[in-house]
């Protein structure tokens, strides 16, 4: 109040909007469960190196300790190389979440630029950009990722590139359609009348209004990306052993599945829990952001 520059109306309104979204989100018990599970996964991913020693527990092979069943000193048991499964699982969480989040951030940024330009400028630019995106969308995501891996080779960076390219058109589409819904509203016209530049209008006035569906889509896409990384690694085209990735851990254990099923079951449960938590949060956010959708 003392600061003459402050504009109290705007922040208060923003806060109350966020609060009401949070109130609606909070009512959804499943979404809250998702938040709790995801928070736990994030915690073990961030503090993985505090909980266990990466080199010693997750990488160093020790044939004397092969196939120790779960329980006792090794809570999840040990794998076919005598490595602690628990240590590999929590470093796996770090890898899956890292790749998922980075992929979605990169494709979100590039997709937003493409979608925003297409939606805002319209006409020819829109037509050309979106037809290109349509072609990319016509190729199933998994196939797209595999063909990029075929060209670039396996490895973390290449997987990131492959998955990001495969996701870009999805964001371009959603950003474009969000922009089309706000493009002709009066406040945009007002901004333009004030002489605001096009890029500033897009970044400051249009995108914030389109942020809801983008966040929902991003959350759900992190989930589907985690599934794709696991699948790619499982068929041997993703993250390579000995890096502890959940999918490649299962590929390693597949041949010994008959006698040591825990090596398959435990990583699968962790993937499913992570993906489920993200899906629940995404659904919860969608309902909370758009109350009309709920019934």
């Amino acid at each position: 109040m003392t600061d003459p520059k402050s504009k109290p109306r705007v922040p208060i309104k923003k806060k109350s909007q966020l609060l009401s979204i949070w109130h609606r989100f909070k009512k959804n018990k499943l979404a809250l469960f998702g938040v709790v599970v995801l928070a736990a996964m994030l915690l073990i991913a961030v503090f993985a190196n505090v909980i266990v020693n990466y080199e010693r527990d997750a990488l160093t092979q020790n044939m004397a300790l092969r196939f120790n069943p779960p329980g006792g000193e090794h809570i999840f048991g040990t794998d076919g190389f005598g490595r602690d499964l628990f240590a590999r699982i929590i470093f796996g969480a770090r890898i899956s979440l890292f790749v998922g989040v980075i992929t979605i951030s990169v494709s979100l940024i590039i997709g937003s630029v493409i979608g925003a330009s297409a939606g805002y400028y319209g006409g020819k630019i829109d037509n050309i950009l979106m037809r290109i995106m349509d072609v990319f969308l016509a190729i199933p995501q998994m196939i797209m990722a595999i063909s990029i891996v075929a060209a670039l080779g396996t490895g973390m960076i290449n997987i990131l590139i492959a998955l990001s390219i495969a996701q870009i058109p999805r964001f371009a589409r959603i950003v474009r359609s969000s922009i089309l819904t706000v493009k002709y509203q009066e406040f945009i016209e007002a901004a333009r009348a004030c002489g605001t530049s096009n890029s500033r209008i897009i970044a400051k006035h249009i995108l914030p209004n389109a942020i809801g569906p983008i966040i929902v889509q991003a959350t759900l896409n992190v989930a589907s990306t985690i599934l794709i990384i696991a699948a790619l690694s499982f068929v041997g085209l993703g993250i390579q052993p000995p890096t502890p990735e959940w999918g490649s851990m299962m590929a390693d254990a597949k041949s010994q599945m008959r006698y040591h099923e825990y090596l398959i079951i435990i990583p699968g449960i962790f993937i499913a829990l992570t993906v489920m938590s993200l899906n629940l949060i995404g659904d919860g956010l969608r309902d909370a952001l758009d109350p009309r959708l709920k019934n």
């Binding site: 499943l30 037809r131 290109i132 349509d134 072609v135 990319f136 016509a138 190729i139 199933p140 995501q141 998994m142 196939i143 595999i146 063909s147 990029i148 891996v149 075929a150 060209a151 670039l152 080779g153 989930a223 599934l227 696991a230 699948a231 499982f234 068929v235 041997g236 085209l237 999918g247 299962m250 597949k254 599945m257 008959r258 099923e261 398959i264 079951i265 990583p267 699968g268 993937i271 499913a272 829990l273 993906v275 489920m276 899906n279 629940l280």
Partner: protein, 311 residues
């Protein structure tokens, strides 16, 4: 009607050209040199140069692309670098397995997904509804290959009921089809439920009910038919997803399909095989989407009348 189908089919052409261009560019970028792959490390410089010239590897991008498309249209996708057999033969021998698997996968997801979704909507908030939503939640979160491994563990290794690998009998297709169907079954259940719930609240359903129509007739004739459009969209979109899933499913169950062919070819850098298999799957996904769009016209009377009247 025909006009719509023709128009929609023509729209496929730029998409297919685009797909082939993308895939061709990606493969052109790949660092491996096919000549050293084919001749092995001990080849003389002269034979390398000769083979390069013979294969046309020294031409520029556009020339190579046009030649590839021309040959592809005649059914010639080149020769596998590894096996030295025509790529089209490899693809042709493996394609039926993938198509079969995908067909059963899609059929299963539809045949189970739609009825479960409908029942779930009619019996909203009952134990049946909760149960089906809960299963859908789990099915979407599970990696497909993990479900496949779990099925093998239970039905092949523990109970000894079903074969774990191969494609010889219909029994071999049971577990792969379930594996492939699971995720999209879940999407179909959720989609059917939510659209049915929307439709059931409409006025014309109340009208039908007040006219004394039977509950069964209301659900199937009045409600489901109107709810079908978004469901068909999801099924069409899922098809592409399932083709991608087929790759992983084939790997789990060691089925000789396009997926295992593609994965093996990527590992051995057998570019002609990778390109052809990716192209086949991508074009197939496009064709399915086309079929779904044509199907719309039959399901949605509004579209139908639009095209019939504008004839």
């Amino acid at each position: 009607m025909l006009k719509y189908i023709a128009k929609r089919t023509l729209m496929m052409i730029p998409v297919i050209i685009g797909i082939s261009l993308i895939i061709f560019s990606i493969m052109e970028l790949s660092p491996g040199d096919p000549v050293t792959l084919m001749l092995g490390d001990g080849a003389s410089q002269q034979s390398i140069t000769e083979l390069r010239e013979e294969m046309g590897l020294n031409d520029n991008f556009v020339v190579k692309y046009v030649r590839y498309v021309k040959n592809a249209l005649m059914g010639d996708f080149g020769i596998s670098y590894r096996n030295k057999v025509p790529v089209i033969n490899e693809i042709a021998s493996r394609f039926p397995t993938t198509l079969n698997l995908t067909f059963w996968g899609v059929l299963l997801s539809v045949v189970i997904g739609i009825p479960v979704g409908v029942i779930s909507a009619i019996k909203q908030y009952t134990i049946i509804d909760t149960f089906s939503l809960f299963s859908a939640l789990i099915l979407t979160a599970m990696p497909a290959f993990w479900l496949g491994l779990m099925l093998i563990l239970l039905f092949s290794l523990k109970l000894n009921l079903l074969p774990a690998t191969g494609v010889d009998t219909w029994k071999h297709f049971i577990m792969p089809s379930i594996t492939l169907a699971a995720a999209s079954m879940a999407t179909i259940i959720r989609m059917t439920r939510s659209t049915m719930l929307e439709v059931i609240r409409q006025d014309y359903i109340r009208t039908a009910r007040s006219k004394g129509a039977g509950e069964c007739r209301i659900v199937f004739k009045h409600a489901l038919r109107n709810a079908l459009l978004p469901i068909v969209t999801i099924i069409g979109l899922n098809f592409g997803y399932q083709l991608g899933g087929a790759i992983v499913t084939e790997s789990v169950f060691a089925m000789p399909g396009i997926g295992t062919l593609m994965v093996a070819a990527v590992r051995t850098k057998d570019t002609p095989i990778v390109m052809a298999s990716v192209l086949f799957v991508a074009v197939l996904a496009g064709v399915i989407n086309l079929l779904v769009d044509v199907l719309y016209v039959y399901i949605d009377p509004r579209l139908k009348s639009e095209y019939v009247s504008s004839k």
